[in-house]
């Protein structure tokens, strides 16, 4: 049997978990989450600035490029706590864009972009397309080399998160049939290229991006030799951080439901005393603990060839099942109140669905695991 991974936890992870637990609790209470959902920007610029000051944007960026040189293992506790507090903002988009740059950016691109990202300039990825599966090389958009050597883009990207704030957008295309990554800036986009999408998770700001009409200098292309590996790396990194957000959310969702089960009375009894509610919430809890164990194994083993991929896919698949189940039951167990906008259960359920629809749901990752393990 292949090595499936194991738990390891660094002092840096412990420190960041501690700081993030406190920070996210204070800066993202649910009333704030709800207020920001209705606001245009969708997040609090002051909090974003603080994240930059705290150095969180540079955690997984090498020191040579202005970061602190840790890894994604150290980003996981931060995102877990953000997910727990349903925190909004372009942190994950930016972190993943930085990962793409680190993995396949040219030296010039890295020198130009990474220090600015570490200092707080938002960035994002434009990878997803409609009607494809979640394979990282499922790309229909193209870039065609013109006579002057420049690249003319074509096609449509979807679910480009935080695109309106991003100073850099990294898009996947095909050039002569081969997967490629290119770097866009807001100046490259014709008017109307971005269209805000209505998405299920109201804490997100997501955009469709029409590439037609965009023309780039050839030096916007990432290193072709490292692109395929970079797409794979970003796919796994995205799933790792999604799992972190989901595990945090699952915990909060269970705690939120428990508060209700401990206080709501029916038939002269607290409803949490009914086993029809007690046993399923215990199920949700055991699934949560399993998902969290997978998460921290995936964080620890992320850079190990082979094992990293197995552990990440297990983490995402496990988190999907845990979060979806906990949030689904959360709605049900709140009765009539569960059907309302004001009940937080729907926020968690929506966030779980959002994550399942991106970078692969549980069934997708289990299918991949079958191929990796058998």
């Amino acid at each position: 049997m292949k090595d499936l991974g194991r738990i390891g936890f660094t002092e840096d992870q412990a420190t960041l978990l501690d700081v993030a637990t406190d920070f996210c609790l204070r800066r993202s209470p649910v009333a704030t989450v709800r207020r920001l959902m209705e606001a245009e920007a969708g997040h609090d610029p002051a909090v974003w600035a603080e994240l930059g000051d705290l150095g969180w944007l540079g955690v997984a960026i090498p020191e040579a490029y202005g970061g602190s040189g840790l890894g994604l293992a150290e980003v996981v506790p931060l995102v877990e706590q953000m997910g727990r507090r349903l925190m909004a903002g372009p942190f994950v988009s930016t972190t993943l864009a930085a990962q793409a740059l680190i993995a396949a950016g040219t030296e010039d691109q890295k020198r130009e972009a990474l220090p600015r990202i570490a200092a707080g300039e938002a960035a994002t990825l434009a990878l997803a397309e409609l009607d494809t599966d979640w394979e990282p090389d499922a790309i229909a958009c193209t870039a065609t080399r013109q006579a002057d050597g420049r690249l003319a883009l074509s096609g449509r990207k979807v679910l480009v998160t935080d695109a309106s704030e991003a100073r850099r957008i990294i898009a996947s295309v095909r050039i002569d049939g081969t997967p490629a990554l290119v770097l866009l800036t807001p100046d490259d986009l014709p008017a109307g290229a971005l269209r805000q999408e209505t998405v299920i998770d109201g804490t997100r700001r997501s955009f469709g991006l029409t590439l037609d009409g965009i023309v780039l200098d050839a030096d916007r292309r990432f290193d072709p030799n490292r692109t395929v590996a970079a797409l794979e790396h970003v796919h796994l990194a995205a799933n790792l951080l999604a799992a972190a957000d989901m595990v945090g959310g699952t915990q909060a969702c269970i705690d939120y439901t428990l508060d209700y089960l401990r206080t709501r009375n029916q038939f002269g009894k607290v409803i949490g005393s009914y086993q029809a509610l007690k046993h399923p919430i215990v199920d949700a809890y055991t699934r949560y603990e399993q998902a969290r164990s997978h998460l921290y194994s995936a964080a620890h083993c992320f850079n190990e060839q082979g094992t990293g991929e197995i552990a990440v896919r297990m983490a995402k698949a496990s988190a999907d099942v845990a979060y979806s189940f906990a949030a689904d039951r959360a709605i049900q167990f709140h009765g009539g109140f569960g059907f309302t906008w004001d009940c937080d259960a729907q926020l968690y359920r929506r966030r779980a669905i959002w994550h399942a629809a991106q970078f692969g749901d549980a069934a997708f990752h289990r299918k991949k695991l079958a191929r990796l393990l058998f």
Partner: protein
Amino acid sequence: MSTVDPKDLADFSEQADAWFAENVERDPGFMLPLTFMEVGTDTQFNFLRDWQNKVWEAGYLGAAWPKAYGGGGLPQAFQIAATRAMRKRQGPIMLNAIGLNWAGPLLLEMGTEAQKQAHLKGILSAEDIWCQGFSEPGHGSDLGSAQTRAVRDGDHYVVNGSKIWTTLGRYAKYMILLARTDPSTERKYDGLSFFLMPMKAPGIETVPIRKLTGEHGFTQTFFTDAKAPADGLVGPEGGGWKVAMRTLEYERGARGGQAGGYVSVGANAFDVFALAQRTKRGGQPVLEDPLVADEMVGFLMEIQALTLNGQRTQVPELIADRPQGIPLASKLMGTEMSRRLNDFAVRLTGVRGAYYVDEPEAADNGLWARNYLNAFSATIGGGTSQIQANIVGEHVLGLPKS
């Protein structure tokens, strides 16, 4: 605890591995029990008793118990290494489970000096087999309502009543017994006391009960004016409930201190995976069926999660929110998984799933069906899964009692 010299530990591990490699007998010519609850024949019993004794004499059982009581006096890491070697070389189970895993650590923690001197060594050597008298015909999950009576009479108590589902009851020399010394207390729990009961005393009768597998393994135990020595009380008279609860913590693995080794070798997901890899259906590897493959992946994820849960409990920062959560939920998670996993294994064998032990055409001599039926011993014994879910809901998640 003294610090561990890595060199000593490495040498010890190597010796243990060599010892088990040489001494394990995998096929003694009859069916070996996979759990201590399955020991049904004298042949099985004698073989396993000798085996445990041999392991103890070699220093690979009770390695971390105090020397004064027959242990090895070594740090726990040594016993862990010995158990690992035992598992690697697929040694048979340790027979005296109730002594090694619950009565023993309980006595180490709460027993009198005389009790420790009298019992711990015999537990390790398998000279004294132990059983547990908690459940009664009328009171199983509701253990606190147990009615077996114990009435003080000078230096002993007179016991009357009946216990049931007594694993190893036919072979045991001692029983940990929960009995009612005072039927008039306001709280039912306050009338219970905890005894170390000699099983060979007059007035004790054990009647075998046949299990769903067709084999024998537990008994009903009847007490008619049987004498329990007063110096065999653990804790004070009327304080038995707390002792019983502590015993259950040891039994469910929520608390450490066990002598080592293992008392069951239930198939894990990797064994079932190996079965799946060598199983064909309609001429095709069964794992090429996407539905079967998906289920198999699910089990591998689940067993991996349970392994990781165990590792995570060693990292205080990662269990800070609910430190007791994983320990208290681990029986529920592990035993329920095992039951579903063995059911899956039976289904994997397709047409052969209809066969049972001893049928020559059965897959692995009917092992999977037997495993599946036996898996219920763990989802029922030691507190049923429903009771475990109540415990997790109430003690970990803070919900009110049902």
